[in-house]
């Protein structure tokens, strides 16, 4: 991929151990196939967490905590010596996963850059300076004499930014102003004759610019390699993993979720009202109304119901009761029962089908007459407003939800809806309709027991 600059590394930073790699070159490590996938998934959880935090409008300080915690939780490794390897391997695997389209590259670039930004901020000055050396940034530290001559102005800038005159930074770098546009735009640097005086604590913006531009170029190269060789060469081994990873669902496995008492047929209307997410509620209501659902809808709702605890017998009874008025009991047994038994693994390949995650539902493409999909994604704004109004989301909360939808953050819109309906926060965010259901039930049971 690139020339490894190993000699340089020992020269530039003899004492400091770098735990924040710059991912300049692909690792020459042996990677076990499971690790290949598992490491990538762990890193993806961090990146998705970051994406979620950003779209929720978290402030820099909150983001710093979020990144620190997510990183610790997902990216540690039982063997200390493996931590850096895991970091590097997972990064390079995801490069492969996310190099394949413009949209994927954009997302990955933005999340990795954010991750890097906060990890850099969390490092001490020693490490930060070692990293700058590693980047080969051509900037000189302002000499003492020069510092004295502009000291007053630098202090003035610091005081103009905020009340906490950041412990009087004394290390400054002199940088052509064009290279720190964000600092210039916000008047957070002193500028003299074309040079900006960048304080040590602002250096992150220089380093991040470098990181981003390097990664951006690298992703384009990776894409070229992927399409020209890797995809074909690895078609039996890595390619399927890579292709699945970009759409993978990262939450817990709900296919076996039976934490709650099986729901019985007599409760189902009640429970649908209180704990179904909008997508399922819509299907449920349409089924009641039309006594029919097309295949996509039967799958989405059927698997969901299975996982919230409807037994096969109940499921058969339920679907039969709904369908019969339209198609007749006989035709139901002949044409539809098979599908239901199939979902429960009783027919065909006899495998247990897993319920759909939000990601899968959101990326589905319902056609005319279909009722599956995610209302936040697939409804018109008018219909969505009506549906939200019906479940009691109004005024301010409604506008917040619509706002997220407009920015295409459908799961966040769903999360806000959950919060509005339950009057309780949902920090993890909604990733799966079954998670929506379980979290809802938890809250309701807690409320019942406390009353």
């Amino acid at each position: 991929m690139e020339i490894v600059r190993s000699q340089k590394r020992t020269l530039a930073a003899p004492i400091v151990v770098l735990t924040l790699p710059l991912y300049r070159s692909a690792p020459s490590l042996e990677v076990r196939l499971e690790d290949f996938e598992l490491f990538a998934i762990d890193r993806l959880r961090v990146l998705k967490g970051i994406s979620d935090g950003l779209s929720r409008g978290k402030k820099p300080d909150e983001m710093e905590i979020l990144v620190r915690d997510m990183w610790k939780k997902n990216m540690s490794h039982p063997q200390a010596s493996e931590v850096v390897n895991k970091d590097i391997i997972s990064h390079f695997v995801l490069r492969l996963v996310y190099c394949r389209t413009e949209e994927l590259r954009k997302w990955f670039l933005s999340m990795e850059t954010t991750l890097f930004r906060y990890r850099f901020r969390l490092e001490g000055h020693e490490v930060q300076r070692a990293l700058m050396a590693e980047f080969d940034l051509p900037y000189k530290i302002v000499s003492n004499a020069e510092f004295e001559s502009v000291k007053e102005k630098l202090g003035q800038v610091a005081r103009s930014i905020g009340p906490y005159s950041s412990n009087a930074d004394t290390i400054y770098f002199k940088v052509p102003f064009e290279e720190v546009p964000e600092l210039v735009a916000s008047r957070r640097v002193f500028i003299l004759k074309g040079h900006a005086y960048v304080a040590m604590h602002q250096v992150v913006s220089l380093v991040v610019t470098q990181f981003r531009s390097h990664l951006s170029k690298a992703l384009v190269l990776t894409n070229r390699k992927w399409t020209s060789t890797i995809r074909e060469r690895e078609k039996d081994r890595l390619t399927p993993i890579v292709e699945a990873l970009s759409t993978s669902y990262l939450g817990p496995d709900y296919s076996q979720a039976r934490e709650f008492a099986e729901i019985s047929l007599k409760d189902i209307d009640q429970v649908a009202k209180s704990s179904f997410p909008l997508c399922m509620r819509h299907l449920f209501e349409k089924l009641r109304e039309d006594h029919h659902l097309k295949h996509g809808g039967r799958m989405q709702l059927g698997l969901f119901l299975k996982s919230v605890g409807l037994t096969l017998d109940d499921a058969l009874a339920f679907w039969k009761a709904e369908f019969s008025p339209k198609v007749g009991a006989e035709r139901f047994d002949k044409e539809y029962a098979y599908g239901i038994r199939h979902n429960y693994g009783k027919e065909g390949k006899r495998m247990d089908y897993t319920p759909y995650s939000c990601q899968k539902i959101i990326s589905s493409t319902p056609g005319v007459g279909d009722h599956h999909g995610c209302p936040f994604r697939h409804f018109s704004e008018e219909n969505l407003r009506a549906a939200l109004g019906k479940i009691g989301v109004a005024n301010h909360a409604m506008e917040d939800v619509i706002d997220k939808v407009r920015n295409r953050h459908y799961q966040l819109a769903c999360t806000l809806t959950f919060e509005a309906v339950h009057g309780s926060s949902c920090d993890a965010g909604i990733n799966h309709p079954n998670q929506y259901f379980i979290d809802s039930q938890k809250i309701l049971q807690k409320n019942n027991s406390t009353v």
């Binding site: 003035q156 102003f177 546009p181 964000e182 735009a185 008047r187 002193f190 003299l192 004759k193």
Partner: protein, 453 residues
Amino acid sequence: MPRGESENGRDDMLIDGCEPEQPRGNSVPDGFNTNYLKVYYGKLFPHHDIFKWMSYGNDGKHPACDRSYFGQREFSFTLDNDIYLRFQSFNSASELENSINEKCPVKIDIGPVYNVDPAKRHAYAQAGDNGFAPVERELIFDVDITDYDDVRYCCSGADVCLDCWPLMTVAVKVIDTTLRDDFGFNHVLWVYSGRRGVHCWVCDEKARRLNNEQRAAIADYFRGNENSHKKVSLTGHALHPFLARSYTEVLKGFFEEKLLSSQNLFSNEERFEKILEMIPDESITSELRGKWQESRRSSISKEDINVVRWGQLKQMLQSGKQKGQGLRRCVEEIVFSYAYPRLDMEVSKHMNHLLKAPFCIHPKTGRVCIPIDPNHCEEFDPTTVPTLSKLLGELNMGGVKADGGDEWDKTSLGKSVRYFRSSFLQPLLKSCKEKIESSYSAKLQESKNSLSW
């Protein structure tokens, strides 16, 4: 969007107040018409200087000159019948001159330098997203008096007079100093827009090569206080050095010595209430209000009422017993609201914005868009800028003497062309020449090095 469209649109709304110009002796009927303009382009317009400028030294003989440079610059013409010709390009000084003389545009705009000849852009447009794109453009600024309507009481809209023009003078001083001292630019040209404002062209190579993000950063560096005429926001305990310098060197003086009285900022209740609104302390505002409503009845003092009231306000806010920094900042904030430059940010942020060429004639006022010397911008008087009819009158008179030499030298345009050459063009071309030579020898050096491998 081409700048020309919106400007024309706004121009139609108001008629300038500074007319009519007194015709002297050799009377050329007043106003603006295509026949006059033809004479102006034929005899007075400094075509050659514009060509020299826009070539940035690339019209020389040096082997490192880029001969296609001038030809990749976009010019656009607005014709008499409102036809708008974009993407005009020319390969030589004479091509430019011939086309202007022939088409006789009422307005000439200058756009960016593109990667290819803009007249042939269609051939490249298909070649993908980098087929046709701007690669160089002066950093430009546009300040318009119409954006100051809430802080001037003498005129509104496109009208200007000597009472409100100082607002433009402040803008020139603040921006010019900052471009030179902070950003380190040297080749800055200021031009009167012909009616209601000023344009600025920053022509250093470094400025011409800025990308849009960097342009936006500079524009944002200049941004005023977003919440002017709101209560003072207590952000930060000090002004950024650039704002502090602008305040002490320019804003404070102009505000206290000019604007305060010329705009009568405290002369009636409506006006002083607007200022009191910016003070977040009820007890102070009501005390001042009381004083001023009182003094209206018993005003025999000879002193300017605006100056007196400003003095009282300052004393209240700055006297030791007031709670610290916040209220002191109030005084600054008021001055900033009434005097700080207001830029048309969009013009500066994008490479492909068009801007009217210097030495055009403004079609509504008939005035020439002449350069302004930033070192003497206090002396600039928009009401005495030569008009088309005045120049033609002078030309008629000078025609009798006919002793050769440039025609413009015999008119009141002469001073402006001489300033343009000596203070702007010559130093610019000198540095361009040096740049071309030094980059060439660096390249030679490089190729020598690579041979020694």
